[in-house]
Symmetry: C2
Subunit: 353 residues, 2 copies
Amino acid sequence: MDARPVLVIGGGPAGLEACRGLSDLGIPSVLVEKTDTLGGTPIHARYATVTPYMKPAAEAMADLIEAVDDSDLVDVRLNTVVTASRGDAPDLVVTLHGEDGEQEVEVGAVILCTGFTHFDPGQETQMYGYYGHDDVITLVDAEAMFSDGEVVRPSDGQPPKQACFIQCVGSRDRQIGNQWCSKVCCGIACKQAIEIRHLVPDCRVFVFYIDLRAYGFWEDDLYWKAQEEHNVAFVRGIVTEITKRGDKLLVKGEDTTLGRPVEVEIDLVILSVGMEPSEGTLQMAKVFDLPLEHHGWIEVVGAPLDKVSTSRPGIYAAGATTGPADLEDTVTSAGSAVMKAVGFLARQARGAA
Amino acid sequence: MDARPVLVIGGGPAGLEACRGLSDLGIPSVLVEKTDTLGGTPIHARYATVTPYMKPAAEAMADLIEAVDDSDLVDVRLNTVVTASRGDAPDLVVTLHGEDGEQEVEVGAVILCTGFTHFDPGQETQMYGYYGHDDVITLVDAEAMFSDGEVVRPSDGQPPKQACFIQCVGSRDRQIGNQWCSKVCCGIACKQAIEIRHLVPDCRVFVFYIDLRAYGFWEDDLYWKAQEEHNVAFVRGIVTEITKRGDKLLVKGEDTTLGRPVEVEIDLVILSVGMEPSEGTLQMAKVFDLPLEHHGWIEVVGAPLDKVSTSRPGIYAAGATTGPADLEDTVTSAGSAVMKAVGFLARQARGAA
């Protein structure tokens, strides 16, 4: 089989799973990660636990990182980015820019695992006052607090008496151009609501939502559990305004189930920010000359029956590189990409033989 | 590498994708299918198109079937079931029961792709009158009609003037024991609503739902499209009763957004039936001594970061064998299972060498 390695770009869950899988199959890989740490968003954003079963994120990721670190077949390049490519797989030459300058590497296939970035709730919409009110935070900020073993109001360091989640911030929103559902935020909000009730048992927790998209087993493992075992209140309705009242926030909206306006004093507002293609994903689209699909993520050509093949043979994409993805999607698509990349190399080797 | 083949059970999308992938990697497989036809539910249930991009199902599946038929490395056994197993992977002996009687086969690993069955809306709940009214059908019945290029009322063969979908039939329902969301029915209903509007342009179409779970790109590719381009009416609310009025059906429920009762005369009611583990899935759990998770599907031990490894080394599960899955989930998990099964065999071979 072709001796050239598979280039895996991005050291998050998808990239790690891809390298672990390639290594198990005896295939060398080069793993390029732009930061100085493997683990991707769960590690960089300091997730406390992963959805839905609340395994500590550091522990969950450690298994994957260890497998990659322990393998002789994975050449890990931290603080490195891919700046150029020429030729076509399996004769692809990529330029890596790392700490020791530039280097050209021949690779047989590529798996893009550059994923997503969290929507910045202050950049395109100020309606929820993320930059105006200290006590308006995001799902990501909340994870970092849980990692520190606490939930407090940033303004005074006190635990909240009433907290709420606002769903679909940066998702399902034509005005800001994000015409997709980010898929995971409903499940994460249910999980975080439970975590707040654990950490601050007398805190009342509300979730304001449009449709509660707790698909599959998340229905009862997260959504029912949050309601029945942890007394979380789910309010179907959009929040239209957040204002200050004394040292609290006044959250105004409508309960569309009861058909009446809602006004609640809240100590801590958590914005369930959605997913956008990461800068790395957009850069790799340029480096490898890959078209974006109409939402702006890297296009795959055979969905739903092939979610990983891009328009260029030998170049695959996994995880949230091609659209919103939960962790199951992320690791299974990484496996699918490995299978297809190695199959591609084997077919090329057979063709060449 | 181990010369024993991988046993793939079930000739639907997951099983076909697994065998195609194994074949590309040069690994032999035995594909066991209990019916006389490959293609699984999309073929057996006569799906017209696959969600979300409406590629004809027969065409979509033909690619997969052809790849398997054309491969010398896939040993296809139709009209065959697995009746027993002994030993552990990679030294597993399975008994196949086919047209020529019983045969024992040594296999190195197993990928279970036995999937789901559609909820039978007459078996456990009669509230929607599936067996009482001719013009109450299911998503599956509707697909077969679309395959014939028509939508008609079964009672008189006439095209409907008003049609409606009722979501969550056999899903999100503690009373019947199905405490999960079946994940795909919201997307399929959006797709079918569009198909009805194509086939019968003057038919009004309603969708009664609890939460419209059009996750990811389905948000605008299906849900917005159905509303904006095809004028489908989505009504948030549960249908409580269906009765006869003349030659029509009277559908009664509540529009929880407007907070008032709804009563609509409907010519054709389509029940969005959910997924349950198939008989084959439950049988294979017994044959391979695999525990079921608390909803009754085959348990995987590492979710969300491993959705395919069962509690037994060398035995993997893909697609809707482990829970509700859309087609993307199904094919990506098949790829993941192939990667892990071949990795398992390679590790065993290295260990034995």
